[in-house]
């Protein structure tokens, strides 16, 4: 098996992982954790759910700034490409001005979309990468992409027992320690 350099795998984080069979028990665990003052826990789910998003209360993803900046940059590059290149190699076509805006709107539009999409992808990749670096290497279970929800609470050896109890009380069907 391919061994990835340590650049990509952060050091393991100690803590407790709860496996949940139900959405409402997972929501319960999130509420209890937030009430107990935890903020850096990770929730796994096979699908995105608004209930989870609301329970976690995370701010809107900064990906939208990437899309906006990329779109504006693309539009400007499209305008610059078509206008500057027309002036640099001026050719009269169909009696129209050398720098003719209406046909160049097509180029500007397509470049807006292209750069907007590329920077959106970049935004998703960078933001998830940073989130992963922050969380470190944490416990995971292959059932989380199928039909189970999961909550991982980072906790040192002194607090891990309390975290395990909290997860079990919320209705976790299985609790593991790392």
């Amino acid at each position: 098996m391919l061994k990835l350099p340590p650049l990509f795998s952060a050091p393991p984080t100690p803590g407790a992982l709860g496996v949940f069979a139900h959405l409402d028990t997972t929501l319960d665990a999130i509420k209890r954790l937030r009430a107990a003052g935890h903020a850096d826990f990770t929730v796994y789910s096979p699908i995105p759910r608004h209930e989870l998003e609301d329970a976690l209360g995370a701010p809107v993803s900064p990906v939208r700034m990437f899309t906006l900046i990329g779109g504006i940059a693309g539009c400007s590059i499209g305008a610059w490409l078509s206008l500057w290149m027309s002036e640099d190699w001026p050719v009269q076509v169909g009696g129209k001005p050398i720098g003719s805006i209406p046909p160049y709107v097509v180029i500007m539009f397509e470049m807006t979309i292209l750069f907007g999409a590329l920077t959106t992808i970049l935004g998703i990749l960078l933001n998830t990468l940073f989130a992963r670096r922050r969380a470190g290497t944490i416990l995971y279970d292959p059932r989380f992409t199928n039909d189970r929800f999961g909550v991982f609470v980072p906790a040192g050896s002194d607090k891990v027992a309390a975290a395990e109890k909290l997860l079990r009380d919320a209705g976790a069907e299985e609790v593991r320690r790392a």
């Binding site: 098996m1 391919l2 139900h22 959405l23 409402d24 028990t25 990770t42 929730v43 796994y44 789910s45 096979p46 699908i47 995105p48 608004h50 989870l52 998003e53 976690l56 995370a58 809107v60 993803s61 900064p62 990906v63 939208r64 899309t67 490409l81 290149m85 027309s86 640099d88 190699w89 050719v91 076509v93 169909g94 003719s100 046909p103 097509v106 180029i107 539009f109 397509e110 470049m111 979309i113 292209l114 907007g116 999409a117 590329l118 959106t120 992808i121 935004g123 998703i124 933001n127 998830t128 989130a131 992963r132 969380a135 995971y140 059932r143 989380f144 992409t145 199928n146 039909d147 209705g171």
Partner: protein, 458 residues
């Protein structure tokens, strides 16, 4: 992201969805290899034809003065059109929050990417000297030349290039959580493949937070894009002063036609996939009926556009315009025109009947005729407009495609189906996470599991 809906049967749980869709990646049957071999054989015919075209020149194709845009450009527009409904289903219906799209959008999206890959080959074949294709790209060169940005062909290059890039990214983005789901079930070399291609997806809250936002923006960007691409393709024609081309109706007319043909192709592709992979409980008759309704809507717009074209040709009072449309309907190519009018103008009217819309065999047959009709529409617009009035007096001979045209066209079908068949066996052809989104989530006490949503069936 989506409303929870009552599942069609209580048997359809998250686990059922994962396992049923993952099963489509199992060992292929003999029938699959037979289909793949047919596709590769067709592609072989295309490659051999291309070698002949390179050796002896484009004269092998049926080009004859004044018809210098013919089957290759017809196929280009045909394949770009096929691509469009994929983006309609994956992006536009996503923004409309249509729950039913989840079961069919992956197939449609893969179809989009492979259809654009196919379409992109035709301008290259058509230019004759493929190795000079980069002349289209604005790159600094020693002669200080730049492309003419007032030309619709340059717009087209930008539109198709952007469309291919964005639709590929959109397909890959949608695939990542599903590849992770099959990674967690797979063994052996496939586990390694999926471990790399799922780029570390675990479904953590931070991943979903950025992913769902980004996906929303990609859909929002793809929506105007798809409408622009076929508009730009239509301007390749509409910008030229040729009777039958030079009309402002072209952009909406082409976009509607594109979605019509694309929905036809989605039905053509989904019918065997559903049967072979046993996905009857995930892709239901309801999905086919909705696709048929889309066909009916867009087919009616196309039929209206046909009527509009003929009316305006008469109403314009222009003798040339009238002669061009008279030639179209009653000239040497009357058979092509009437194939197109019957397949696209009248055939979709059958879909007003619920009995037809819910009969999958009938829909499959109709979808084949939709594809044929839409190919002929492009043939009529391109070839017949160039061959007809007012150009007949300079015609050398009636244009007829040759074996080289058909060989390249057969190759394009082989190329498309080869990629599509390889895709459905190696990656989830139905979205796993999005199909789960329209199910009621598991809750403590199964009595509450059903009826968690608006009551609308997906």
């Amino acid at each position: 992201m989506a409303e929870s809906r009552t599942p069609s049967t209580t048997r359809v749980t998250y686990d059922y969805v994962t396992r049923t869709i993952a099963r489509t990646l199992g060992t292929p049957s003999r029938g699959y290899f037979l289909l793949l071999a047919t596709a590769v054989a067709l592609l072989g015919i295309g490659i051999i034809t291309l070698i002949f075209l390179l050796r002896y020149g484009l004269g092998l194709a049926g080009y004859s003065h004044p018809v210098y845009w013919a089957v290759f450009i017809t196929c280009f527009v045909f394949w770009v059109g096929i691509a469009h409904s994929g983006t309609l289903i994956s992006a536009i219906l996503f923004l409309f929050r249509s729950g039913w799209r989840t079961a069919v959008y992956r197939t449609a999206e893969a179809m989009t990417v492979f259809a654009v890959m196919t379409a992109g080959l035709f301008p290259l074949i058509h230019i004759g000297r493929q190795w000079y294709f980069y002349w289209l790209i604005p790159y600094p060169n020693e002669r200080g030349l730049w492309p003419n940005f007032k030309s619709p062909l340059i717009w087209d290059e930008f539109a198709i290039g952007t469309y291919f890039t964005v639709s590929t990214l959109f397909l890959i983005m949608g695939l990542i959580p599903d590849i992770a789901a099959v990674r967690d079930l797979a063994t052996g070399w496939r586990k390694k493949l999926y471990a790399i291609t799922s780029v570390g997806w675990t479904g953590s809250n931070e991943q979903w937070r950025h992913y769902t936002r980004g996906y929303l923006y990609l859909a929002a960007l793809a929506t105007p894009l798809v409408l622009s691409v076929h508009s730009v393709v239509s301007w390749d024609f509409a910008m030229a002063v040729v009777p039958g081309w030079h009309t402002t109706i072209f952009a909406p007319y082409f976009v509607a036609g594109a979605i019509y043909s694309g929905c036809g192709m989605v039905i053509t592709l989904l019918t065997p996939i559903r049967r072979i992979f046993g996905l009857e409980e995930i892709i239901t008759v309801k999905h086919f009926e909705n696709l048929a309704k889309l066909c009916l809507l867009t087919g009616s717009i196309v039929g209206y556009a046909y009527a509009c074209e003929y009316f305006l040709a008469w109403y314009s009072g222009s003798a040339t315009e009238r002669a061009a449309f008279w030639y179209r309907a009653f000239g040497s190519y009357w058979w092509a025109t009437w194939t197109m009018i019957i397949c696209n103008g009248f055939l979709p009217l059958l879909l007003w009947s619920k009995t037809v819309r819910t009969n999958i065999t009938a829909l499959f047959v109709i979808s084949i005729f939709v594809n044929i009709g839409m190919w002929f529409e492009r043939y009529v617009i391109i070839v017949v407009s160039l061959a007809g009035e007012p150009f007949t007096k300079w015609t050398n001979a009636v244009y007829n495609p040759t074996w080289a045209d058909w060989g390249i066209m057969a190759g394009s079908f082989g190329w498309f189906f080869m990629w599509f068949l390889l895709f459905v066996k190696n990656f989830p052809a139905v979205s796993i996470s999005e199909v789960k989104e329209v199910l009621a989530p598991p809750r403590r006490g199964q009595a509450r599991a059903v009826g968690g949503g608006t009551g609308a069936h997906h």
